[in-house]
Symmetry: C2
Subunit: 153 residues, 2 copies
């Protein structure tokens, strides 16, 4: 069950939950499957008839990431993208899913399973490195592109 934006005030201890910040959160809620860039958020906000400055969007994204509500990511297309961090993992700041990035059509599929726990433990032990989070991307060819282009060799 999804927490409503209004109920998120507790997360904003020293910050104000302004209309602009609500708006950004709202857009993320309505686009859970997407990885939005600042510019895309700007466009989506105008489509909703709202007026919000691009600079404010950047500042809001920075804040929401600090609060652990958003995760910043980079897909190599020259701009940062963000996605909503699921409630149940916000505390631990662990983000247990990965991305399948198609080299042909640039689509991004999400893989929900997280099979890295054991691997993390191996690495932690071997290198005495305390792991807080991980980020895994797979590059290759998605089902539909494999069919079209016969990328399969």
């Amino acid at each position: 069950m999804q927490k409503k934006i209004g109920e998120m005030k507790s997360q904003f201890k020293d910050y104000r939950l302004t209309p602009q910040r609500k708006l950004v959160l709202e857009i993320f809620m309505e686009n859970k499957e997407r990885h939005l860039s600042a510019e895309e958020l700007y466009q989506l906000s105008r489509e909703k008839g709202e007026d919000i400055g691009l600079a404010t969007i950047y500042r809001t994204l920075e804040l929401l990431e600090e609060l652990g509500l958003l995760q910043k990511m980079n897909f190599g297309d020259g701009r940062s993208r963000y996605e909503l961090v699921p409630e149940d993992v916000q505390d631990r700041r662990h983000h247990h899913h990965h991305h399948l990035i198609c080299l042909e059509c640039n689509s991004i599929l999400e893989v929900e399973e997280d099979l890295l726990s054991q691997l993390e433990r191996v690495v932690e032990e071997k290198h005495n490195f305390q792991i807080v989070n991980h980020y895994l991307q797979f590059f290759g060819y998605c089902p539909s592109c494999r069919q079209d282009g016969k990328k399969d060799k």
Copy 2:
């Protein structure tokens, strides 16, 4: 055993192995452990007394990545970084090592082992996605920062 730059001509089928391109490769050879940015390459080249334009460096990096000799990566510091792809994996374009990125001192350790093969197979099968490469980063605290700051909870 490392291939010499002079022996790399075969990789440059339709391109010229110019002094500038040799220089860039040479710097990567001498800094295998580092993840160099364009600007850093520029600095290192001047330290060697060579004169090469920054634009040429960018164009060279793009080319070398296409040829599979370099891997482009992003550590979230606002600039792209590159590292030499080991010979024995250049063909398959697989890059079998990962990064441990310290959130405290920003150091980057490399983990040589690759334990993702089985995981890749699971994902490929489950999602019918042909994986060509993967990229894995671990975020946390390195040994020395754990000691200093007692980040360990």
